[in-house]
């Protein structure tokens, strides 16, 4: 057995829910302790939040002005320097973890397991390939450190109620200056975050235009839901790519999911298969989305969606 290290994802002030999901995954592996490392310019608040999660043994606080923004080239050598104490190092399979963890693995000269959806043994995992058309079982060599990303949609968040010790560390690692953060244009719509929302309303190509997509935004607002889209709707330019739900976009697991005017291409279905309840609205009764939907309504979305909105008043 060994200790497991999880790299915390945060925005400088708030811990991302993806971290608590990595903890849940790590708890399914025999271990001597689960540590979470927080890289920040001032990690006080994020470390407090991390320490309060059940299952965390220790929080490592690594403050450095260079850690203000999560740049893989800056963080990876620091993680590699810590890795010697651990049997496993995990990051979430979000854009943060996907960017960072392979760079860590390569610095350590080992492979990476991407998108763990189930732990079968300390070095045996299940993960989706081919856009979720197949689930592969992967064996990693037990004599190497295991670097992996955790498919967040496959795990619930660790509960609160912990009080792990926070340990401040200073790392003597040379950091590059060839990569510089310029800015983040955050989605400032006030809507819930697509990745973590309990309710999501997604629209597809059948919306027909960017203007018609307002229908989806309207319904989402009524439901307090995040807005998503199929790849077809994104490719058609109705909405930006960061709303894309699916294997090449965001993989989500809301309690309630509305697929409106989405036919249900496999790559979209992969992104929603862990959703609690799926509602599909589509004019084609043969659409594949109905194969996975808990509730289906066949008909014209331009009629049904306004009707639904009125009924929610």
């Amino acid at each position: 057995m060994g200790r497991i290290l999880i790299v915390a994802e945060h925005d400088g002030s708030t811990l991302n829910a993806s971290t608590a999901k990595c903890i849940t995954c790590a708890e399914t592996i025999d271990n001597d302790g689960i540590d979470v490392v927080v890289f920040a310019s001032d990690g006080a608040a994020v470390c407090e939040q991390t320490s309060a999660l059940a299952g965390v043994s220790r929080v490592l606080r690594i403050d450095n002005a260079a850690n203000e923004h999560a740049l893989a080239a800056i963080l990876a050598p620091q993680i590699a320097a810590l890795a010697g104490d651990y049997s496993h190092v995990f990051g979430p399979s979000t854009t943060f973890g996907k960017d960072l963890m392979p760079r860590v693995a390569a610095l350590l000269g080992v492979g990476q397991v991407s998108d763990i959806m189930e732990v079968l043994d300390t070095h045996r995992f299940r993960r989706p390939i081919y856009a979720g058309n197949a689930i592969a079982t992967v064996d990693a060599p037990p004599d190497h450190i295991l670097i992996a990303t955790v498919r967040t949609a496959s795990y619930s968040a660790a509960a609160s109620g912990g009080s792990a010790e926070i340990e401040t560390r200073h790392l003597d690692v040379e950091l590059p200056d060839h990569t510089r953060f310029v800015k983040l244009d955050a989605d400032e719509t006030g809507r819930p975050d697509l990745q973590s929302a309990a309710r999501v309303v997604s629209g597809g190509r059948a919306l027909g235009s960017s203007a018609n997509f307002e229908l989806i935004f309207g319904l989402a607002e009524k439901l307090g839901a995040a807005v998503g889209a199929s790849r077809a709707a994104v490719d058609a330019g109705y909405v930006p790519n960061d709303l894309q739900v699916g294997q090449t976009g965001k993989i989500i697991a809301p309690d309630l999911y509305f697929a409106i005017g989405i036919s249900g291409a496999i790559q979209h279905l992969t992104g929603i298969k862990d959703a609690g309840t799926i509602v599909a609205i589509n004019k084609d009764p043969e659409a594949p989305i109905f194969e996975v939907a808990d509730y289906g309504l066949v008909g014209d979305l331009f009629q049904i969606v306004p009707e639904l909105e009125n009924a929610l008043d």
Binding site: G111, Q112, N133
Partner: protein
């Protein structure tokens, strides 16, 4: 800059629905249509635009795999690449090994920029670009939706979960592409003919001094667990009733 190197992976075409063999030994991909990984194709398109703007002199496409990969390299040449290199092997290659091979090619070719897709649509690993940047000890800019070159620097807009992040990376660097970076061009017939005369060099994996490794073994494949089929409802009122019953509204 002199040279842009673009990594192309031969994958099952994105229109093919891959199925698992009943005995769990792998995916039934024999005889299906193969293509350039779509994200890599976006990388090549970006490289060609960089060259057409006059910011690069040469675009080199590279691939790793069996001799069949020549087809995808020829397609890359037909799109407009100047030269192709195939590192030929019949071994299973993992992302770390791919990164080592590309790193060896970088030492030979000295490109000012390396482009590839953010992930391949077969194994969905999303690792090779980041690993290459680590081995090369150079910057990485993953999930690019915009790439602007100026004066030894690339300003890259990245599609991240929180929105759009912009970073500056000093060149040379590795940039991995997301869907919205560009729309790749269609190949026209005369270009396919012309591509046949463009140089395509084949190198054995051993000649580069890289050993074929796959640290991780895929021991079983199975189809995903199906979701139970639900019910068709008559109207909105019934839907609202069902959702209230489940405590979802």
């Amino acid at each position: 800059m002199q040279k842009v190197m673009v990594c192309l992976k031969r994958v099952v075409d994105f229109n093919v629905r891959v199925r698992v063999r009943p005995d769990g030994s792998g995916d039934a991909t024999d005889g299906v249509k193969m293509s350039i990984n779509p994200f890599d194709e976006i990388g090549l398109e970006e490289a060609l635009r960089i060259k057409e703007r006059g910011d690069a002199d040469e675009v080199v496409v590279v691939s790793i795999g069996p001799s069949d990969c020549q087809q995808q390299l020829r397609t890359g040449l037909a799109m407009g690449a100047d030269r192709a290199i195939l590192v030929e092997t019949s071994e299973t290659i993992d992302p770390l090994c791919s990164a080592r091979v590309f790193h060896a090619l970088i030492r030979r070719e000295q490109p000012g920029l390396v482009l590839m897709g953010k992930q391949a649509i077969d194994d969905d690993n999303n690792q090779t670009g980041q690993m290459l940047a680590a081995l090369w000890v150079r910057p990485q800019a993953t999930f690019a939706s915009e790439l602007v070159l100026s004066d030894g620097t690339a300003r890259v807009t990245r599609e991240v979960d929180a929105g759009l992040e912009t970073i500056d990376v000093e060149l040379p660097a590795v940039v991995t592409t997301d869907l919205r970076l560009n729309e790749p061009r269609y190949v026209k017939l005369p270009e396919i003919m012309k591509a046949k005369r463009k140089p395509l060099e084949t190198i054995g994996l051993g000649e580069l001094g890289v050993e074929a490794t796959a640290q991780h073994k895929f021991v079983n494949y199975e189809p995903p667990a199906p979701r139970a089929k639900g019910e068709q409802l008559a109207d909105v009122a019934e839907l609202i009733g069902k959702l209230k019953e489940k405590g979802l509204l």
